[in-house]
Symmetry: C2
């Protein structure tokens, strides 16, 4: 994370050098000096243009080296090929923060990559921090500061934004409900989200933070910053490049891989970020978090003038995990008074029949006030009509709703209307900023659900940190790993590593020849299984290298010989060194427990259905260690196989505590030993009295 | 279906009686006469008001019986309690079509239900057809006809609408892109969608049909009408009441159950309807189908000024099954000319670097024209900016895009912009009605995908009808079913029924005592399984009534005795009549094959993972018979277990032809025998050489 002073220097600089600023001005000139002046920036501005002269009344220096002071920030707005030299001059001058706008570095050709590397080397050796390249820079509307060469329609709001594309800068009014403070990290070669997030989260002028992420360098660092920020402020995240096609485009855009979406999703969930799937959802969530601080629960009341719309509302609430509130006695009493006897009354309520008897506005007000006072209702969706032209509109309750909302700021009201004049209504509803209008009931319910989701994040605030002690088996494992070549590990080593960390294997021994095998089988007890021991043969079954359910010494002998005949025939040059003999166990519930090193996040655990079902069902959930027991339980319960473990259909119940321990041991193992690239225990067999690994493999980095 | 003349009488009446019309007029009066005059209706209007007098210059009759002729249509707009008498008068007068607007019948209290039944009885005996109750009636904008008491902002369009709620009448401008012809069937007690759909589909003035469905009486009738309509015109369907909460609200709104959503979904897919999940998706699809007739494929080109937006576009296309087009040689050549060497070029394209060198508009036009001419591109998404105020906007390409679109009407262009002035842009883009603007790229891609989906419906047009001959086993089954009491069937009867229809059971026989059992087991061959035979004991395992893997006569004897000791102890009064002896088979891939009678759609087939996995995995797909082989294959392939059947992970491959045959036989069985309420074959065991049922049960209606 940047220090607070560094952060201030970047976002509220007292002086800025605009390097390579154009002398053209006006429409289409993309002149950052013009933008900065328009914004009303009060700090010192040093235009630098190699031709000198005056630009918009400001004298331009011909080189940054000539500036009378070291500015807080330099903004290089020259074409790519001019950047390396200009950057060197900035570094030479002693400028600490440099924003680079040009495209064509890591996202360009080979030459661009070389230029980028040279710039990064200079920066590292002289302690210069870079924002970008390929960025529109920093916008701080609290400080009238805008380091962007593009003009755009600017709306000041309470939104903090971190992004990697100009879409979220110039489109902020539309997507993020405006800008309080924004930093576009562009290609993110140096300054990254984790450097900034904590500061935005602590900025009391901001109510909500947006992240637009295309790629990520250091997942663990990001997660740490994100966990810290999420309990301070709602953090909305929009990750793009999630599809195979999108990922390819992303890698050409910011020059780095988008990463595996499932891992990102797991990380975001573990950090309690509010993930959105498109820009409209992003806007919807910004609107609700900018308007309301909290919600007390998930019980929704719906006041409406349409039975048909009520069905849509109930569907939408259900879809997003909200509940239809049960009305309390005083509310029901009021409804009984207002409605004709034949009419259904309850929640959601179609107030039309009441309106026919007691007047529309009068009834709407009474019902809405009763809903707002009802302790069994946590939020209200108001559905109104916008189908009448302005002149003939006798159903306009926008003012009434805003008035009631103003008196009850602690209970969120969201609204939807149907009919051609909905944009008028949207505008009216949002005038006092105490209700939020949505373009569909579905979106209204989704936003309320996000508010409720965040309410739960705040509630659980404290129980978040995990620290894993070193496992006592680590000394043994270190030795085992040091003794081995960097390669696929031999099975016996893999088994010993797991056993050292307290994950039991079915009884096994290694035999180098048939006589030894017979002796050891006697010790283990029949029936046994044998597997060829070889570092080269990874898919043992394919060469007939796994034999199960061997019942006596004679059968063992025959099978052993047959196995090696087979292997010699199919892969004569394969190096083998005997067999693993293992107790043969009947089939229990087969699990997969594994870990895979992710380029962004480090080790990622996988848990799910094992055996042949691993690939077919893809019933696997992920977790990024370290994990709390609660997080491990969540991870288990996300899978369908967990229902079998819990005893569905008369299957034996598994000992969840043991399972949690094993997952914890695995976390310790992969965190303590970064040389482990992949580890798979499959099957981990669950019986009602024990959980035991039958096979496992480890690949080193 | 209504006859064409009846349909015309309902939607283009030459004369209308407005029964119970109010004498109040103006703002808030809800006067249908006023609405009808405002609409410019040219037919004869007969106001009926028991007080008589003149309303808006029209003399009111005091009773419908006094009218000088029989009007084509009567519109009863009186409160509920007055409706029965007024309806009887309409019937007496000989009016064939009556619209009832009031609420409070099946959707109200007990009295309302009785009133409704009386009305339906009168209607049936005198041949009167009812629209409603609880309806806003019929809007025919081609004929200036509007049988609604509500005024609303009306937009004439090429959309046909069938709905069950006023939301889709008065909100049509907003939700359905306007109205061509609309019929609100309200509670749908008589005239239903199936009566109307075929006429809308054949109306050449309409380009697209919308259905808003809350409930359905006759699923098979609807499916027939829907299949017929869907090949003539795109049919968009929005089913509400899909959630448990929504379903409860729906039943109080239209007085009927919303039904099981998965069955509806299956039906809609089989009919090639375009299902949407909310009103915005409904609007999006209306826009694209109103603008474009067809699309040639799923290869999308994206012309954009933002790399970040391109990633979003690629993600969105991927999400909805579209592909990023590979550019053809002439397009690539053009890009090579326009772009600096360091810039990535391809699809999606960020044209910004080209714009810097050759001018923004010039480059945009060249690239867009090249994309439109490229035979490897089937549709284009244009992403533009709307972030500049009108005065300073040097990036406005709306006119250029519309011009190019106008020259290439056969290749759809959809657009999205980012930035605060997006609503201005939306308006500009849609001026010529040759491109469609979307509020997000996600929605743009979703709409293109629907267009492509419909393109495929049109392509396969012919291969849609299935007719299933009677299965030769039907005579036997009829006899078996006639001989049984209406109840759970005895296992031996169930097994015989399946065998009669060509679905083989594992070899079995019924024994009434142990001696008989020993004799029969010898014939079947050991190992065997035994199951208690009893119509009362449904969950046989719970009382120890199923025993597997019995290897010899002695073991059979012991097991038999132990089983009945157990049953006598756990359920002493249970009636049993011996055991079913069955060959014992080792475990193959377990399937479930079943059928359940749905209240709306009749028998619905289920196929999926069997055994203990049925409940845990819920890996089941549905089909509404009769089904084509292709539909059966789709049904199989929708499940995950189908991957195992196809030989995943070295599992034996199943004979799909045999499986398709069994599913066809099951279709024939349940269609020919409506007394079967539920039928479950579980497990249906798959081996590499045969597929065979191990157990099954049938429940009768």
């Amino acid at each position: 994370m940047l220090s607070f002073n560094e952060y201030k220097q970047l976002t509220e600089p007292e002086s800025v050098a605009l390097i390579g600023v154009t002398s053209r001005t006006g429409k289409g000139s993309n002149n950052p000096l013009e933008v900065l002046l328009e914004w009303g920036y009060q700090g010192k501005i040093y235009p630098v243009n190699r031709r000198g002269g005056a630009i918009l009344g400001h004298l331009a220096y011909t080189s940054v080296l000539d500036l009378p002071e070291i500015p807080d920030l330099a903004f290089i707005c020259a074409p790519r090929d001019a950047v390396p030299e200009l950057f060197s001059q900035c570094a030479e001058k002693g400028i600490k923060f440099v924003v680079i706008t040009a495209q064509g570095f890591f996202d360009g050709d080979e030459q661009g990559k070389l230029m980028q590397e040279a710039i990064l080397n200079t920066a590292a050796s002289l302690g210069v921090r870079i924002l970008g390249p390929n960025t529109l820079g920093v916008i701080n509307n609290f400080n009238h500061f805008c380091a962007s060469f593009m003009r755009f329609i600017n709306t000041t709001s309470t939104t903090g934004i971190l992004c990697q594309s100009g879409v979220f800068v110039v489109g902020a009014a539309h997507i993020c409900n405006g800008i309080g403070l924004l930093i576009d990290t562009g290609n993110t070669t140096d300054i990254e989200f984790a450097d900034l997030l904590g500061h935005l989260a602590r900025d009391t002028r901001l109510k909500v933070i947006n992240i637009h992420m295309e790629s990520l360098r250091n997942g663990q660092k990001f997660m740490q910053a994100a966990k810290d920020a999420a309990v301070l402020k709602p953090v909305i995240i929009y990750k793009t490049g999630t599809s195979p096609a999108g990922s390819i485009v992303a890698s050409s855009h910011t020059g780095s891989l988008a990463g595996e979406d499932e891992v990102f999703d797991t990380a975001f969930k573990q950090c309690d970020l509010l993930r959105v799937q498109d820009i409209e959802e992003m806007n919807d969530l910004n609107k609700i978090f900018s308007t309301f601080h909290n919600i007390n629960g998930k019980r929704v009341g719906v006041v409406s003038i349409s039975g048909g719309a009520n069905i849509i509302a109930a569907d939408a609430c259900c879809r997003y995990g909200l509940e239809m509130a049960q009305l309390s006695k005083p509310t029901i009493d009021l409804l009984n008074e207002l409605f004709p006897e034949w009419a259904h009354q309850g929640n959601p309520i179609d107030m039309w029949p009441a309106g026919m008897f007691h007047g529309y506005h009068h009834s709407y007000r009474l019902i809405l006030e009763a809903f707002m006072a009802d302790p069994q209702i946590d939020s209200v969706i108001c559905i109104t009509s916008s189908f009448l032209d302005e002149e003939g509109d006798f159903l306009d309750t926008t003012e009434l709703i805003r008035e009631v909302a103003g008196k009850n700021p602690e209970k969120p009201i969201v609204t939807w209307t149907y009919g051609g004049r909905f944009q008028d209504y949207a505008h009216k509803f949002e005038q006092d900023k105490n209700v939020v209008y949505y373009y569909s009931i579905d979106r209204a319910a989704r936003a309320l659900s996000a508010l409720y989701q965040y309410h739960q994040v705040i509630k659980k605030k404290d129980s978040r940190t995990v620290s894993l002690p070193e496992h006592p088996g680590q000394t043994t494992v270190e030795k085992l790993l040091n003794d081995t070549v960097k390669d696929n590990l031999e099975q016996s080593v893999v088994y010993k590593i797991l056993e050292s960390y307290g994950i039991p294997m079915a009884r096994w021994a290694k035999a180098e020849n048939i006589d030894e095998a017979i002796l050891l089988a006697e010790k283990i007890g029949y029936p046994v299984a044998i597997k060829v021991s070889s570092r080269e043969i990874i898919h043992k079954s394919d060469v007939g290298g796994v034999r199960l359910n061997i019942c006596n010494p004679q059968q063992l002998k025959d099978t052993y010989q047959d196995m090696f005949r087979n292997i010699n025939c199919k892969w004569p040059e394969a190096k083998t060194d005997g067999v693993i003999i293992q107790e043969y166990l009947h089939r229990g519930t087969e699990l997969l427990l594994g870990s895979k090193k992710d380029p962004q996040f480090g080790p990622v655990l996988a848990f799910g259905a094992g055996g042949i079902y691993t690939e077919v069902l893809k019933d696997v959930s992920l977790g990024i260690p370290p994990l709390t027991s609660k997080e491990i339980i969540n991870m288990i319960e996300k899978t369908k196989v967990s229902q079998i473990l819990a005893g569905a259909r008369g299957m034996p119940k598994a000992d969840f505590d043991v399972l949690i321990n094993y997952i914890t041991y695995l976390s310790q193992l992969v965190l303590a030993n970064p040389s482990i690239a992949e580890l798979d225990i499959n099957p981990l067999m669950v019986y009602n009295d024990r959980i035991i690994a039958l096979d496992a493999r480890i690949t080193l980095v």
